[in-house]
Symmetry: none
Subunit: 418 residues, 2 copies
């Protein structure tokens, strides 16, 4: 059984928006053994939508369509599906209740245009949207089962998991090919070097396909496998994964897609340790990442985002002489910031950044891309200077923050469990 | 004249890679007055490639195809184009020299598989690649002119600008349509309500098309226009923009795509004012946004990310009695945090957040999604309680941070320029 994905919307057609939904859907479908053969995007144009839906209905067995389910006049998916299937739009009570419940929850008045969202092609099945106003629907067109989902990524993702994947898997039945992907997240190796280290995996483990994906500033090494025999596939992927982890060593952050902040958070928890941050050039990004993790209040106590020198002195207790002698971007200043925040926060560890994210402020001695990371732990403290050649402010902020957290991660690993 | 975009490759088909090339190409084509009606992606499958190329050749006048020009066996674009056009692959000396020059420049040995890259469909025109090994080519299929480019983004972008756009513009000739888009960024209105407020724009300004885009937690209202007469188009879009801005009122953050942090930063600069932040539930996100803006050190002094109560007391000077009496999430606590950070940072304004981002920590009285924002300015200070029903930690962090910055934005607007 083959499937296709259709993304609708003028923003996608005109290039104002990158369609990341289709890649997400394709990955999930393939993981569940459903072959994806084509993605298409068209704009909010009724005749284009109708003809594209008919083509898809003629070509494949299953399809996921995103976008065009909202309340406004350029939301045309239900209308296009009805025309393509030769049926009328009909008021669906369950869809109306879906829309209504959302407004009740928000305690907001429902508008007349939201009522439009309850008009769906006659004979279609409602796909309940628990996180937004737009219910989806499923409809059979020719031999093809079409699933219509909202374009808002988090709504689409939830409904894909809740409704679409289970029905597709059941439609597919015994024809299912299992596929798996193992994602190893690394930091500190450029993509080409990471690629060279693991290039041998395809030869050593037949049936495994290698892919590298830059998720700046992390590099993801992905191992793909496909087989009818799920147990064999799992065994093969486990062995290939073990080999790959060995090649990558301490550059591996996680082997299950977990991000740096989740890994660092767990290492802190396991050691009953707490952290305080002092951020200059990273501007709160390290704190924001760490606090993205639910439950982070168990180990994250405080970050002083000290952009100005007075804040470094008053809040963190950095000595004015140090700032005068070395400047704000220096190993010694960074070390004092880390020690200061450890003291102020009363935390087990202190971590700091001070650097030049750009675009201005660079000098010959300290060009844009220079960062000093300060570390203060129970037994020692140090400052370390690093340089990254990216030249872009937002990239620098990210790689500075990631590099500092990576220093903390390695110190926590070396400290062992307490 | 209509155009399409085709992205090829198993990485895109399977979702391992998000296709950002097609959005880039669509945007450039539309900017140059070339209408894009469809994007398609298919994998490295010769029969699929051939049939897709033939369909495109039957449907439109021009197309850009990316990917499949490399040296490996799964690079099939030249072969597929030759089959679709009914011609042979032929050795192209100019293509060979393109490949060879790249290896010479980098002093690397050229492999036999690279020689394959010089075999292109007979009768095709070489598109020189100055930054990579894969030359592109152009070929006429039926009534359609097809341009084949590498999938590597920076190679594709260079060759699109150098070769494809100029030839497309010249093919299009007098038929060129200019297109424009005006992006109005709003905060504080749900999408449906924003849509209703501006729904009349299409009727009032014929030729203008309306689009709404949720860029959580902001809503973008987009006005699209297309016309042969660029001056007329600009005038019409300006008038439609003025009308739309009036409907949206103070919910408008910017009318040029600028983000909240850029707007707030400029308002502070214009008033020679500075800001200090005290962040609990937003965990550094407000600081990170504000410091994403180059030059923000001119007005951003400090953020105290005070997750723990001791940090709120020690760093910000919140009174222990206040915390005891009202708890951390309360208008009064938020107000004291804002006043405290204004004092500690020595800033003109202080802004604070304290709330419950979830997933845990909610109560009946203060459910997940509750945030208290504190504001302290030169003339007054206050705390305000807000509630958002999203229930997801990362969404709550974002909307809490945006809501707090929006309170600051409105206070700055009311303060006028100094």
């Amino acid at each position: 059984m083959k499937s296709e994905i259709l993304a609708t919307g003028d923003e996608i057609r005109s290039g104002a928006l990158v369609d990341s939904n289709s890649a997400f859907i394709a990955e999930k479908l393939e993981e569940n053994g459903i072959e994806v053969v084509r993605h298409t995007s068209v704009g909010d144009d009724i005749s284009m939508l109708v003809s594209t839906l008919r083509e898809i209905g003629d070509r494949v067995d299953m399809a996921v369509v995103t976008g065009g389910l909202g309340p406004t006049t350029d939301d045309l998916s239900a209308q296009a599906a009805a025309i393509a299937a030769g049926v009328e739009l009909a008021f669906h009570q369950a869809a109306f209740e879906n829309v209504e419940s959302f407004f009740k929850k928000f305690n907001r008045p429902m508008t007349e245009s939201n009522r439009k969202q309850a008009y769906l092609p006659s004979g279609s099945k409602i796909l309940y949207n628990p996180v937004g106003t737009a219910p989806g629907f499923a409809l059979t067109l020719g031999r093809c089962r079409l699933f219509f989902l909202p374009g808002v990524p988090y709504e689409m993702k939830r409904m894909l998991t809740d409704h679409v994947i289970p029905e597709m898997v059941s439609l597919q039945g015994d024809a299912a090919m299992h596929s798996r992907v193992k994602t190893i997240t690394t930091f500190g190796l450029p993509e080409s070097l990471a690629g060279e280290k693991v290039a041998g995996v395809e030869a050593a483990f037949p049936g495994i396909k290698l892919g590298l994906r830059a998720n700046f500033p992390q590099i993801q090494v992905k191992l793909y496998g496909r087989d009818k025999d799920a147990a064999l596939l799992d065994r093969r992927l486990t062995e290939a994964g073990r080999w790959t982890l060995e090649q990558l060593g301490r550059n591996v952050i996680s082997e299950n897609g977990e991000r740096m902040e989740t890994v660092v958070g767990r290492l802190l928890l396991e050691r009953s340790a707490t952290i305080g941050l002092a951020e200059s050039c990273t501007g709160g990004l390290m704190a924001s990442w760490l606090t993205d993790v639910a439950g982070s209040s168990a180990y994250f106590l405080f970050s002083g985002v000290t952009y100005s020198n007075p804040a470094k002195i008053d809040v963190l207790g950095v000595r004015p002489e140090t700032l005068e002698r070395y400047g704000a971007v220096h190993e010694e200043t960074a070390r004092e910031m880390a020690e200061g925040v450890k003291r102020v926060a009363g935390s087990t560890y202190g971590l700091s950044t001070s650097g030049i994210a750009g675009p201005d402020g660079g000098t010959d001695e300290k060009p844009v891309g220079t960062v000093c990371v300060g570390f203060a732990g129970p037994h020692r403290s140090f400052g370390r200077r690093l340089y990254f050649p990216f030249g872009k402010r937002l990239m620098n902020k990210k790689i500075f923050a990631m590099a500092a957290l990576d220093i903390l991660r390695k110190e926590l690993l070396d400290a062992g469990e307490w």
